[in-house]
Point group: D2
Chain length 286, copies 4
């Protein structure tokens, strides 16, 4: 029996240049993924593709819409694409469009350097009537050299970790927040949420990465009234103090090993009291 299913074109790489008459150009650099669901049993069961809009067409649509309507803010671009597929294709009942936006710094009227801290993301789901807009950020790497403790934890037979009252706390923020309602200005809302998370990371005297996570989520909700809930996924990027005693050297919090694997992974949702569950906002049904 065929259960939930979806299909689409993933990772369409789009660069959009806007050329001002005065030689002042704007640059947008995106990675766009489309996923569609609906009445697709026929193609699964017999290879009858009459209801299947090709993924190649989806890619074409991404490029054409970028030309016709512009590609930013990415939340609006994703929304336009999601609504188009459902509203124009009789077999398609659900669409989810996900976008990564890479940051570039202006070097001149028409010159740019790629950089920035973190990758902006957007994911919009649409079911023919309701539209869910989720904004986010990934790969925002933050580090405090102090103001982080970890002690008083549960201990069992397998516990060897020493308690600490001063450690490095570092993470690579991956966050997604659901707007309800969508804000008028996606760029302002994104900037406010990002900055609030950074401020809370920096400003929280932390007894656990969970505590920092909650503070970051609460900061996001406080900074932007349209954020109904925020999901954070924070790897604990461990930094281990090197034992230099064999070399007759002290190491008072100065030299650390930056470890790769394993790593702690802390995930949590912070939501307003009145937020409701909206599973479709986060993923198509599986």
């Amino acid at each position: 029996m065929l259960g939930a299913n979806n299909y689409g074109k993933a990772e369409t790489r789009l660069v959009r240049v806007t050329r001002g008459g005065d030689g002042h150009h704007e640059l947008v650099d995106l990675n766009v993924s489309v996923a569609l669901a609906g009445d697709l049993a026929a193609t699964h069961q017999s290879g009858d593709n009459a209801g299947v809009l090709p993924t190649d067409t989806q890619k074409n649509t991404v490029y054409a819409f970028a030309r016709e309507f512009g590609a930013v803010p990415v939340e609006a671009f994703a929304r336009r694409l999601a609504q188009h597929f459902v509203d124009s294709q009789p077999t398609i009942a659900l669409a989810r469009v996900s976008i990564e936006e890479y940051a570039w710094r202006r070097l001149g009227p028409h010159a740019f350097a790629r950089g920035g801290e973190g990758i902006r993301t957007a994911a919009v789901s649409y079911d023919g009537s309701r539209t869910h807009v989720v904004a986010g950020i990934t790969d925002l790497v933050l580090l405090n050299t102090t103001d982080s403790e970890f002690h008083g934890f549960a201990v069992d037979r397998y516990t060897t970790l020493a308690e600490t009252t001063d450690r490095i706390l570092a993470t690579a923020v991956a966050a997604q927040w659901r707007y309800d309602p969508a804000p008028d200005d996606f760029d302002t809302a994104y900037a406010a949420v990002k900055q609030a998370m950074i401020d809370r990371f920096v400003g929280t005297y932390s007894y656990s990465l969970q505590q920092t996570l909650a503070a970051m989520g609460e900061g996001a909700l406080a900074a932007c009234p349209e954020v109904a809930e925020i999901r954070l996924s924070l790897p604990n990027k461990h930094h281990f103090l090197v034992d230099l005693a064999p070399f007759q050297l002290e190491n008072p919090g100065e030299v650390y090993i930056a470890a790769d694997r394993p790593y702690g992974l802390i995930e949590g949702t912070i939501r307003r009291d009145d937020a409701v569950d909206e599973p479709l906002a986060w993923a198509l049904p599986r």
Copy 2:
């Protein structure tokens, strides 16, 4: 308000050697990730860690259990770990343990070469009473040079794709299947499901990758009665025929571009008629 949350140690890399008295050794090579959920509000709200078993302890437990109980089959190892954390920690109500197993080919009594086709996976969720076992495979790359068509699809203003009656069909299989009940012999079940998927990929004359996906899922269910449902995620690894006409050369299905991005992505679930929804089997709540 704190919503769903979890934490754990991700990507603990474990190699387990079993040394026979005759110099014949066995090798197991794993990547183990643990995620725990429960009554963890205190650490989020005030940094009170009394209910937090450190992720470092989780790592230690992985290594110690591998020594005490062995690490294969990975489904059983994940199950033992998941049950341990919930049953031994009063604050922990849910555990999910995910494992990747890398294949090695024997070269001698104690020598091996890493290889194989695909990475075996297991993920076990446990809530204190019920245990869900999901097995899987990733990175199984399959290709048919023919017996694949794609035509009769929906067409709109943005469609330029030509219909084809002979194309390369290639994918990197990522599949996860839920056992209910768990089979007695996880290795035999895994081998049967993997082989069935390969056989169906090879043996299906395909009019769409969706059709192939359904055939593979049905093959898995037919091969192993304990499989209640299977989720497949199949990227369409496009191969484009090169236009050699400018060089006065024909190209009758011989020379192709292997494209990176974008790619189609086809996802679907095949389930038995009587399969019920078990969300916890697939992920901890978010």
Copy 3:
């Protein structure tokens, strides 16, 4: 002042199908990189491109030659391409063509699974008269669970490593060997060298990875008379025995951490007594 320079098209991904009349197909999967050098001062100094064969043309040539002449063995394909660019372009004096070949296992007359142990490589340099053929392999991951010791090493103020008489020895072989003369049958030569390296890795009771490296290189020279010299680059993929004593468990060489970074890196050349230096065989001048 302009010094050494080169240009070319890198990473042209080519899949070549050979279709037998009986439905029995052959599959070749390559990544081809071309680099050319010669009298290219004009384009650097003034943007005069009269002597610049576009990298796009190089890509086209890769595809067209695969159609006209076939793409295997890769050493011969690289040689044909390298000779073509130098012999046909007046400004081009040197060419180097590098190829990676990905292995597929046959599943049926026209079905395949990607796999294998290691990626076969070839790199051919040509200067208008002499042709240097270098074959190789990368990502061949080998492991011995025993028969490896490491002790008697130099000790200084910063040494804390314990001596060991039994450790895991693991590496990811990257090797390149220069043929002189080129063998008649590249496939047979490649298979012989690969197998000889594996046999020596497995069969050497090792007191250092350097010793194993030398044994592998000597094995390659012994297995194939056309190999004039071989360069090996062997990361020491460390496996650390886990200290389970805190858990009242012994660990007699059973449970290991597979570490990512840092790693030892051992590089060396084994050459015949009469081998001469051929820098062009290994890289274009920088």
Copy 4:
């Protein structure tokens, strides 16, 4: 016969915090690789390790030296390490120490965000008497939306590329420059060279990426008198204008495909007239 060889510890990840008494901290984040060569025949031939300083010791030395002497500027740190190994170990005749430095932006007295444009690199070689210092940068991604043409190129049977008088020019700069003599202030020299390359990329009206490469190299030499030569490796990150005509849309330089593979790769050296060849500066002998 054993030819050239070397060994060492690669990718030691080091984070160095400097803690000011006022709570103002500095952060340095490095990846350090050591390679040593000398009289190492014994370990290759018989596994006699008396002359082998363990790679584990090299790692310890990296951490200890960071504590004792500081880790920046990275050129000086690499130099100190390279000289130490040769001068203290009788069997070691050559050392090469390579470092990557990851940039962090200050967020507060002891808080940081990882970011920046490009990764700073250093590589120092030492043979017991002479020290070669090479500085560099990788992953500096630059893009001009205009002021780039490409035409007048060589044409052969396989050429289909259209000439263009306006294209996007984008690259990921990898550059290494050799100092002779070493500058007094490595940070100032690095900043000057980096900025000069950016300025030349932005300011050059380009008829080929080779022309831009030469301009960047000349800019580097002009900006810093201690730079004897600079090697640039510039991938041509192709951006292809999308054909929107099938959708009745013009595309006047607005919507592009950002392609992954294949890519052009342009490499060249710009050197002062009096620069001499110093192969050891660039790599240990192979």
